[in-house]
Symmetry: none
DNA sequence: CCGATTTCTTACAAATTTCTTACGAAGGGA
DNA sequence: TCCCTTCGTAAGAAATTTGTAAGAAATCGG
């Protein structure tokens, strides 16, 4: 999994440190700034994926900083504000931010919102360009609808089966070892001796192959792993 | 490319200015009004292609303004509302509007929706026009009047149910995870373990399906989420 | 052809995910 | 205020998926 870089700008060190702890716990890198100018500075030097800005800061405050950032970039911004401030006003002023939270905030909610913004940014954001539909000799996989067709006939795969097939078909031709498949699909370390992947491969074959004993699509490469024939 | 004229009506100058920046960046002209009457005035004098209206405004508010505009014109209207306001109310009242957004909003999302509406209105552009009425095998959803019909028979959905169904039917075929549905409809972060979406799905099925146990429209994709069959 | 290794196959129990129902709280309208 | 509708939660039921284990079959090097 990619490691995200998050920039936190707040004049109170306790808050910066607290947020740092929460986010590091979610496997993110945290950069800290005590005011807007410092934040802009870090933003230029580092490859930041998301910014948390406090509204009330000495010098450049959160709102001014947001405007500055928005002049050149579209990165997700999460605004923090004290509850005492007029929320209506805050609402108005935080335009330009992608989300906002009142202090004191619930750590769970903070991390949830951060993750949600990162998802949105990286999934729908400037990246993408991956094709929705992949086709290999009559085998069609649609990533948007998570459906699989064999010769126009829909095939119902389970979530795990689908993920294995998507991995293989997305890199068709390439051979994946059992260990590699397990770690990519389960996102957990693989321990030798597990038979799980083989069982799932069997089940996939049962569904997509005419004759599972002589697979046309999902082939084994002896002593190495599995692949989808190009 | 044609240059579009967009009218923004909001009593908060910061929001007007922010929106102006985003839209100018997309090569649009922006006219600004601080309340409904001023908006109607500008609308008469200028050749406006799209209107952004805040719900909460002194004098003529966004809803009253929409009704006034709709008496004579069919121009696209995008409604803005604070998240704190009751969504139930919002849904009911935004009848007449073509789209709506909660504040604080994501600038990317605002410009995307504005462009989408303009495309639809002017019938230009390579993208599909978003229809007011969406039909899937006897299930008809009208976005303008927020009504739903199953085989010509009207079905009364609640606000939340309607929004879930609209989300799914608008992207029919695509699978939405429970988390995705929750965040898109409630505009709040989702915490694991909540059963809310499932219950609403059940209620929707009870209303639109002949046999809720074997849904014809709103199907589950095990381990992934829900979708409306294409 | 043999033994060692790797993959396949099957069945079953455990785990996960979704469904269903009921109930109390909140809010709007009479 | 009372009634009605909608909403979210909880808890148990039902459905589906998943991993494990154990033996069979296939492949490879010699």
């Amino acid at each position: 999994m990619q490691k995200y870089n998050v920039l936190v700008a707040d004049d109170e060190p306790e808050i910066r440190d607290a947020i740092e702890i929460y986010l590091k716990n979610e496997n993110m890198n945290v950069f800290k700034a005590s005011h807007g100018l410092e934040a802009l500075d870090i933003l230029e030097k580092e490859d930041i994926h998301l910014i948390i800005l406090d509204v009330m800061m000495p010098g450049l405050d959160g709102i001014q900083t947001t405007f500055k950032i928005r002049e050149s970039r579209n990165i997700p911004i999460l605004m923090l504000s004290a509850k005492s401030e007029d929320t209506d006003k805050i609402l108005g002023l935080t335009v330009g931010a992608d989300d906002y939270l009142c202090k004191p905030f619930n750590p769970l909610e903070l991390t949830a919102r951060v993750k949600s913004q990162l998802r949105r940014y990286t999934h729908l954001g400037p990246y993408k360009a991956t094709e929705d539909e992949i086709e290999v000799r009559g085998l069609v996989l649609n990533k948007r609808s998570k459906t699989v067709f064999v010769d126009q006939e829909e095939v119902r795969l389970t979530a795990t089966e689908y993920r294995i097939l998507e991995l293989l078909i997305e890199h068709r031709g390439r051979v994946f070892s059992i260990e590699e498949i397990y770690e990519k699909v389960w996102k957990e370390p693989y321990f030798n001796g597990e038979n799980t992947v083989a069982v799932h491969v069997r089940r996939i074959r049962e569904k997509i192959e005419i004759n599972p004993r002589e697979p046309k699509y999902l082939k084994v490469v002896w002593g190495i792993g599995y692949k989808i024939e190009k």
